[in-house]
Amino acid sequence: MTSNSASTFVRFKGVEKSYDGLKTVVKRLDLDVFRGEFLTLLGPSGSGKTTSLMMLAGFETPTQGQIFLDGIAIENVPAHRRGIGMVFQNYALFPHMNVTENMAFPLQVRGMGRHEIETRVKKALEMVRLGDLAKRFSAQLSGGQQQRIALARALIFEPKLVLMDEPLGALDKQLREQMQLEIRRLHRDLGLTVVFVTHDQAEALTLSDRIAIFNDGVIQQIDTPQALYERPANAFVATFMGDTNVLPGVLTSLNTHQCQVRLDLGEQMFARTTPGLTSGNRTSLSIRSERVILDGDERYDSRLPGSIEECIYLGDHVRIRLNVSGSNDFNVKVPIAQMQPHWREGHRLPVCWHSADASALDAMPA
């Protein structure tokens, strides 16, 4: 615990937030952010991720609990004295100042000398490779350029912690991917601690050391991207991250590693156990669509009959929707090389997977 707390940079301790006294937006949040890590808060809109970020930045006050920054409780430190860099969704570049003036602003309010400001601004513009735009106003910049300037402006006063509130939400796909790489590079090169808010799971997977998945004001699971994806803790995480097929059933027996599930149409299936399940409870058997093989051989120990409902051609793969065990929303991703010409609508074939790839999770809400 001592080694752990030494590397803890931000700690939320029992933090709650309610705006109207009726609905709690963030419920008993306990979260540690480690020094130098890239942590993403991922979740649907209204799940409390942005509110958590705003409480850390100092723009919202927790109704309960405490936030520690570098071991010091910060509820009495006003936002402008927290020294946290922040990047906003719509960049928030000041429209009446040009790029240089925007970049100089955080240094001016810190009372830095004119010459040092000049050098620093120049260096920061080179860091984001936009030195030639120094005299432009934000209306004369493209979205990607604005975002890079906003990023450079948030970093120019060398904050140790940077918060990003859906910074790439307004960019098109190609630019977004380019910016993701840029943010990764800056995080690595400058040794920053980043707390990043997004609702885009691909973005979270690309960038993060760890991801905290929010729903309904509660962290559902916090872990590395791979662990989250491969071993979701509950049905929400499984369906929110990636493409997951969920078959409802009842848990008939379980040990620490494996369990048996009886699906609603009577089939008995094996699956990996997740903590918190008890025998006899309703459960959802979840299996990633890319882990499913159509018409596979005997090596796949889980098999169910299915019939094809729809095939959607997506270039590199075909997405096939099947009716399996009473659910007609069972999706399989078939790489284009494995696609068979006779797999058409109405075709019947076995749907197969390794039972080790399936997990039994809590029952989905109806």
Partner: protein, 415 residues
């Protein structure tokens, strides 16, 4: 590769030309349609606005009275040497034309115009007519004897001067200047009036504008931060005064402000004052009620601008280390300048032309330019003076507009 390049570029020149032709044709068609759409408005503007204003403004330099009444006399005076008294024929023509003018009812206008030069000239035509001998008998000697003014060369020079079709008299008078022997001079201090009135109008308008900005800015800021439903309700309250007639609002301020009025009585009852404050029929009353009446014109454009400023800008500034006050001053305030100037300009332009409110709530020392415009149009029927003063107002407004356009251009570029 050069062949390939030439091959590529040759048709592209023709294509570009053709494309540009089509583009121009499209643009022309679009312009034609747009013109057609604004045609009714244009006709209304030209017929109902530009033409009357233009014709009124020409009245401020027109000088038709003498030329209309005494055309032949003026013609004869043109060849007069100006060193000796004119010949018999001039006296004769003058007498005949004055008779004709009396018969045609032009005498009143002529007398009035002569009166603008000096009081003694005003009675000259009447004096001449009463001394005029019968037709046929020599006129010159009789008139020089009986009407001493006609024996003075200066009178004839003035008459010749007044016969010109245009005059700078009214415009000079509007700035307390006069033409004296071909030179522009200031009028006697006891006759100077309009420069003071102009200064007073500018001062009152500026004070009202400053008061409106001081009162309106915080209100607009607060309104722009309210939830939409409440903001709409409050905006209706801001607009409420618009639904009441200007005169009613002005009159109700008299009720409120007068020495036995609500405000004074309350202050006395509360023991704050011993005797009533003089709040009405002086500058204070004018400022209070004009500020109240014009405040919505500042709040509305300012509110619109403030509504468009994302609150994230201030948050961003704070996150960058600026104290909330610094964030407001350096990030929020500059973004509202356009709204403040638009609102302030509107208020100033409307205030400088105010008439009813100062007339009802002000003292004699609080009357603004419009009061004198009204005085000259309604009471003395001196269109020259009225339009010169009106033109003065117009020039001030145009000047302000030009300044505003100059100031607001950098803001447009940044937005």
């Amino acid at each position: 590769m050069p062949e390939a390049l030439a091959f590529e570029s040759a048709p592209s020149v023709v294509q570009t030309q053709r494309l540009q032709q089509r583009l121009h044709a499209n643009k022309r068609a679009y312009t034609r349609r747009s013109l057609l759409l604004i045609l009714p408005l244009l006709v209304l503007l030209v017929a109902g606005f530009m033409t009357p204003i233009g014709s009124l403004l020409t009245k401020s330099v027109e000088n038709p009275e003498v030329a209309n009444a005494l055309p032949n006399t003026l013609k004869l005076l043109n060849s007069w040497d100006g060193t000796t008294l004119p010949a018999e024929s001039v006296f004769n023509t003058l007498g005949q034309e004055l008779r004709t003018a009396r018969a045609q009812g032009q005498l009143f206008a002529l007398n009035r115009r002569l009166g603008y030069e000096s009081a003694s000239l005003r009675s000259l035509p009447t004096a001449i007519l009463s001394r005029l001998p019968a037709d046929g008998s020599p006129v010159r000697d009789t008139l020089i004897n009986d009407v001493p003014a006609l024996g003075d060369i200066k009178t004839w020079a003035t008459l010749k001067q007044l016969g010109k079709p245009y005059t700078s008299l009214y415009w000079l008078a509007a700035f307390d200047l006069k033409m004296d022997a071909g030179q522009v001079r200031a009028v006697a201090p006891d006759k100077a009036l309009y420069v003071d009135v102009l200064k007073r109008s500018l001062t009152i308008a500026a004070l009202v504008t400053v008061l409106c900005v001081l009162l309106g800015y915080p209100l607009a800021y607060w309104l722009s931060r309210q939830p939409a439903r409440r903001a709409n309700l409050l905006l209706i309250l801001v607009l409420l005064p618009f639904w009441t007639s200007l005169i009613v609002r002005t009159a109700s301020w008299i009720v409120l402000l007068q020495s036995g009025g609500l405000i004074n009585n309350s202050l006395i009852d509360l023991g704050i004052l011993d005797k009533p404050l003089q709040l009405v029929f002086n500058r204070a009353g004018v400022l209070i009620s004009m500020t109240h009446i014009l405040l919505p014109f500042l709040i509305l454009p300012l509110y619109a601008v403030m509504k468009g400023i994302d609150s994230r800008y201030e948050r961003a500034a704070i996150s960058l280390g600026a104290h909330p006050y610094t964030a407001f001053r350096r990030v929020y305030l500059p973004q509202t300048y356009a709204g403040v100037t638009a609102g302030a300009l509107l208020v100033f332009i409307m205030a400088i032309g105010y008439y009813i409110t100062p007339a009802l709530l002000g003292g004699p020392g609080d009357q603004m330019l419009s009061y004198f415009v009204a005085y000259y149009t309604n009471t003395t029927i001196n269109w020259g003076m009225a339009t010169a003063l009106g033109g003065q107002l117009l020039i001030i407004v145009l000047l302000l507009y030009w300044v505003y356009a100059r100031i607001s251009r950098p803001a447009n570029r940044a937005a």
